[in-house]
């Protein structure tokens, strides 16, 4: 009979531990891989892109992709209606789209967490004020509200980003408040209070980590929403201004070619689809890896 081997492990560093659990979810690792790929592409766009994203090749308007009939080797994914190289535009567009998604999610999440914790923890008049304000925000159609805000502030990427952050804010407030309400009367919170923890410590160190799981998922879903809504704003001329190569704007301006030149619509659409999917997968894995209850 062989002795079972007992592996004695020292305590892992938090990062190594996180990676150990994250690795077990294959979809999440694939998502992470794709996200890293997109991020690298965005960072190295200047080096990788074969052409400038704004240069118009007047002789090659609506050239099909290289692998299709009539394609040109120098335009791997073809050109758009004014002869710009789609591949180069996608690479540069990754910068804008990722940045926008990230900034919008971060801003609305951080603000939402703060307000939600305040509302849930203190209750009473604080709760009522915050929640009624967020109800007002939520009662307006999201895009309409964003348009109204952008119309006041003036059309630009920064302003539409701000507008969308505000539009998404109520989701995060509600999520955080609901989890805070559920957690704040648990015994472990009370025992921290008995130990003398002040409200700030209770809110951010004791309660918040236990509320993170739904927030992370909402964040990754919100990332994709942000990209899509930004595209909608761009379509209305309120978001990224031409000739900025933003994915959503590319998609919107290509709609007149849907019937005649499929590649102009397909590639930006595919980029949005895959990126959103990758973020969602990664979010799932992130939630599992951050939840100690699922660990052995």
């Amino acid at each position: 009979m062989t002795q079972p081997t007992v592996s004695v492990q020292g305590p892992r560093t938090p990062l190594a531990e996180f990676w150990f659990y994250f690795r077990q979810n294959r979809g999440a690792v694939m998502g992470l891989g794709y996200v890293v790929f997109i991020v690298l592409m965005a960072i190295l766009a200047d080096v990788l892109a074969p052409h400038s994203p704004t240069e118009q090749f007047r002789d090659f308007i609506l050239t099909p992709p290289a692998f299709a009939e009539g394609g040109q080797a120098q335009f791997l994914l073809g050109t758009d209606g004014v002869g710009r190289d789609i591949l180069s535009r996608l690479m540069h567009g990754a910068r804008l789209s990722l940045l926008i998604g990230l900034v919008i999610v971060m801003v609305s999440m951080i603000m939402g967490i703060c307000f939600g914790l305040l509302a849930g923890y203190f209750g009473g008049i604080v709760d009522t004020t915050i929640m009624r304000l967020s109800d007002i925000l939520q009662s307006l159609p999201a895009l309409l509200l964003a348009i109204a805000i952008v119309a006041v502030l003036g059309p630009s990427i920064v302003n539409s980003g701000l507008a969308l952050s505000l539009v998404y804010l109520p989701h995060y407030i509600r999520l955080t408040r609901a989890s805070t309400l559920a957690e704040k009367n648990r015994d472990y919170v009370i025992s921290s209070r008995v130990a003398g923890a002040n409200p700030l410590r209770l809110m951010f160190i004791t309660i918040l980590p236990n509320c993170l799981a739904p927030l992370i998922v909402q964040g990754t879903l919100g990332f994709s929403n942000a990209i899509l809504d930004m595209a909608a704003l761009g379509f209305l001329g309120l978001g990224a201004q031409p000739p900025s190569p933003e994915w959503g704007t590319m998609l919107s301006t290509a709609r007149e070619f849907i019937q005649s030149a499929w590649w102009v619509v397909t590639f930006p659409g595919l980029m949005i689809l895959t990126t959103v999917l990758a973020f969602n997968l990664m979010g799932d894995g992130l939630r599992d890896a951050l939840d100690p209850k699922l660990k052995q």
């Binding site: 648990r186 015994d187 472990y188 009370i190 921290s192 008995v194 130990a195 980590p209 236990n210 100690p292």
Partner: protein
């Protein structure tokens, strides 16, 4: 001042906790008297058990003592200082010296924190200790409660209920407390584990000279651990005295009924099972007179109209009962 009075670490007098309850629009607000004038004293190294059925105010008392809730009226004295008027450093100091152990070890440990972080939290908040000495103290106490050093890096969900309760005890001890309030510390555990945890608590009490306020509805546990027992009914003390006195000869009819529900090994101590009719009355509109009269087979007209006071007998037991005063409780004369 007698020797025993010098040792008193925690003393409560006339503690009251009233909650206002809305009964709907256009109706006056009701007042729930969760605690209605409770007095007690605990000496260092001794255990005061608080027993009673659900809703009698046991847990409210625990929450007052640990400053989770502020009493509506009354005084809580810790080492001779009134806790309720303390401010700043004194309050912090008192807070460190009175700790609590909760009933449910599955809810009282933060699932996101490792054992080490949970144990060290009170030190992080209240002391200037460096991380190395914090860890040293945490490991020392882990050892004291019978856990191993390697448990320091684990999460709460990796432990059994008994182990978790040990961790909760270790956390309570981190700040060198003088008083530990234990709110039904073993009622969520298996019987076999209950004994271990109780023995651990008693060992620790001896070693550190702790005073326990032990809240329980399990009388066999109370008999095992307590020096003094306080029986509560509807926010008031009905009988209070040395454990031996209460268990060998319960005087208040309610105490007797409680005891009759506990299995006893010694046949001489067995009391024929007394069935109390009805339920605990609503604390919102307690009955006139003695709160227990509706369920008491010895109640007479006086019990229905006047409220009895706590009376001390010759053996140091306090009883709140007209029947006892008048000597009409027949079981006492047998």
């Amino acid at each position: 001042m007698t020797a025993s009075e010098k040792n008193i670490v925690l003393q409560g007098s006339e503690l009251k906790q009233h909650y206002e309850v809305s009964q709907g629009p256009f109706k006056p607000k009701g007042v729930v008297k969760a605690l209605d004038g409770v007095d007690f004293k605990v000496e260092a190294g001794k255990t005061l058990a608080v027993v009673g059925e659900s809703g009698c105010g046991k847990s409210t008392l625990a929450r007052q003592l640990t400053m989770i809730e502020t009493p509506t009226a009354g005084r809580i004295e810790f080492n001779g200082k009134n806790l309720l008027t303390l401010t700043g450093e004194d309050k912090k100091e008192a807070r460190e010296r009175i700790q609590i152990i909760f009933q449910n070890p599955y809810g009282s440990l933060n699932p996101r924190k490792k054992i080490g972080q949970i144990l060290e939290e009170p030190l992080v908040i209240n002391s200037e200790m460096n991380p190395a000495s914090r860890k040293e103290r945490a490991l020392y106490l882990l050892e004291k409660v019978g856990l191993k050093h390697e448990h320091y890096d684990r999460y709460p969900h990796m432990f059994s209920g008994g182990q978790r309760q040990r961790i909760a005890i270790a956390r309570g001890l981190m700040m060198n407390p003088k008083v530990v309030v234990a709110d039904e510390p073993v009622s969520a555990l298996d019987v076999s584990v209950q004994a271990q945890v109780l023995n651990l608590m008693m060992d620790i009490q001896k070693e550190f000279g702790l005073a326990y306020i032990f809240i329980s509805h399990d009388l066999s546990v109370v008999e095992h651990i307590a020096d003094e027992v306080m029986v509560m009914y509807l926010g008031r003390v009905v009988e209070q005295g040395p454990t031996h006195e209460i268990f060998s000869q319960p005087k208040h009819p309610y105490t007797r009924a409680l005891l009759s529900s506990t299995p006893r090994i010694n046949p001489e101590q067995r009391i024929e099972k007394i069935r109390l009719p009805g339920e605990l009355p609503s604390p919102m509109n307690p009955p006139l007179g003695c709160a227990f009269h509706g369920r008491c087979q010895y109640a007479n007209d006086r019990c229905k109209h006047a409220t009895p006071e706590l009376v001390e007998d010759d053996k140091g037991t306090l009883i709140r009962c007209f029947g006892y005063d008048e000597g009409r409780l027949d079981y006492l004369n047998e």
